[in-house]
Amino acid sequence: MINDKYANKIVDIIQNFARKSSLWVVAYGTGCGAIEIPPTMTSRYDAERFGIRGSATPRQADVLLITGYLSTKTLKRVIRTYEQMQDPKYVIGFGSCTINGGMYWDSYNTIKALDQYLPVDVFINGCMPRPEAVISGFIKLQELIKEGKANGAQKYKENLEWYRENQRKVIKNWKMPDYNW
């Protein structure tokens, strides 16, 4: 108990470094962008260099990758997956569809702006973004984590009401269990 503040800081630095260097991605291929993941992970681009690894279940994952357009039907599943992930958790919006709807801008059953429904930490531009872009997006996320700024989960927790309202607007049969923090 010499100096709580410094001790906490050191612990924070170590933890953030660990979080940064070990990003486990829950494999949830929503749209066409999912096809860009295999090249990212395999020998040509080898994302494992940065500690990025796939994970089979959301319980173990840190990063939720929304790979492209997101239909309203899929949104419900994505929300549940996101909520099943453990804090700290990050969302990467992948491709222009997640930013403004992209080529589905006037589709009746895709969502246009992902950040109205989930707290996105990093958007990756492009249609499709190439693996280089994906990796650069991850590196951006790592930087944010290292600085302690990737606090999407925090935001989600604080503005849960607002997010829920938006989510309920698009999802017709809302039969989700309540998220007890």
Binding site: A18, S22, W24, T42, S43, D46, E48, S55, Q86
Partner: protein, 302 residues
């Protein structure tokens, strides 16, 4: 009662050493895998950071007390196994409690962790987990036969069930059991492949099939503890095999060389192989490895 402080020291630091070695081996494995796949691979410390990250998760969930305790069971088994295996030959510090137990005890205590894990997985209520456990237990029935045959052959041959005695008998290079009883080694090492759970015997975790199976509901600190336990357990098993077949180790360098060499067998097998189905895996163990085991016993008997 007089307390041997050196022993206490050994008891305290052996798990730490085991953890470090295990984690490093894990990292190396990933690098080697990457290199074989023509990739660069993660840093060697990657597994360590993974574990730290898991411990530093801000939220954790559990489905009940058994899931809470499951990783504890696992790590208890790992550490206890480690304590009852002589790490360094004839060392006061690193033989720990190995004089208090014997091989059959080790066979059983190694199951303790799996049992605890299985219980935790059961409580998590995830059907994938249960499927994984079912596969794991079935496969265990498979590889246990050749392994026991090998162990029995050795125990009969050397008329002891204590590891220290076994090590003492292999005091010379050409007395290693791997040379004295090669069929036993073959049987045991094939069983060892199954025990380690690398491909082609990775039906248990099979990530693409059953969402990583047993640990699918474990996250955060629980998964961290499980990974810690796995690192320690890997080291313990490797040391055990080294003690049995390669004459143990007189110092840490020899230990690392021998264990690493042993470790590479399942790893390299795993990299180049696809996955068996469960029944294929079981039948594999009941075929050649068992024959080797029986041969080993028969040779000893004659």
């Amino acid at each position: 009662m007089e307390i041997n402080w050196l022993k206490v020291l050994g008891i305290l630091i052996t798990p730490v050493i085991a953890f470090i070695v295990g984690v490093t081996y894990g990292g190396l494995t990933r690098i080697i895998t990457a290199r074989i796949q023509n990739r660069f691979g993660p840093p060697v410390t990657q597994n360590f950071w993974d574990i730290v990250k898991l411990y530093s998760k801000k939220t954790n969930i559990q489905h009940g007390v058994m899931q809470h305790l499951a990783p504890v069971f696992a790590i208890t088994a790992s550490i206890t196994t480690l304590y009852f295996v002589p790490v360094i030959r004839e060392s006061t510090v690193f033989t720990n409690l190995s004089f208090q137990g014997d091989l059959i005890f080790l066979l059983y205590i190694m199951v303790f962790g799996s049992l605890g894990m299985a219980l935790g997985v059961g409580q998590s209520g995830n059907p994938n987990g249960a499927i994984g456990v079912s596969r794991g237990l079935s496969q265990m029935v498979g590889y246990e036969i050749p392994f026991v045959l090998a162990i029995v052959a050795i125990m009969i041959q050397f008329k002891t069930t204590n590891l220290n005695d076994l090590i003492a008998m292999q005091n010379n290079f050409n007395h290693w059991i791997i040379f004295q009883s090669p069929f036993a080694f073959l049987a045991a090492i094939l069983a060892f492949l199954g025990m380690m759970g690398y491909a082609p015997f990775d039906v248990v975790v099979a990530p693409a099939e059953i969402a990583s199976g047993p640990p699918s509901e474990f996250g955060g600190k629980y998964l961290g503890l499980m990974m810690t336990s796995r690192s320690i357990f890997t080291f313990a098993k490797l040391t055990l095999f080294t003690d049995i077949f390669l004459g143990g180790a007189g110092d840490f360098v020899t230990l690392v060389i021998k264990t690493f060499a042993l470790y590479m067998i399942p790893v390299l097998t795993g990299i180049v192989n696809p996955r068996f189905r469960t029944e294929q895996s079981i039948r594999f163990f009941w075929a050649w490895p068992t024959v080797f085991g029986i041969l080993a016993v028969l040779i000893v008997v004659w």
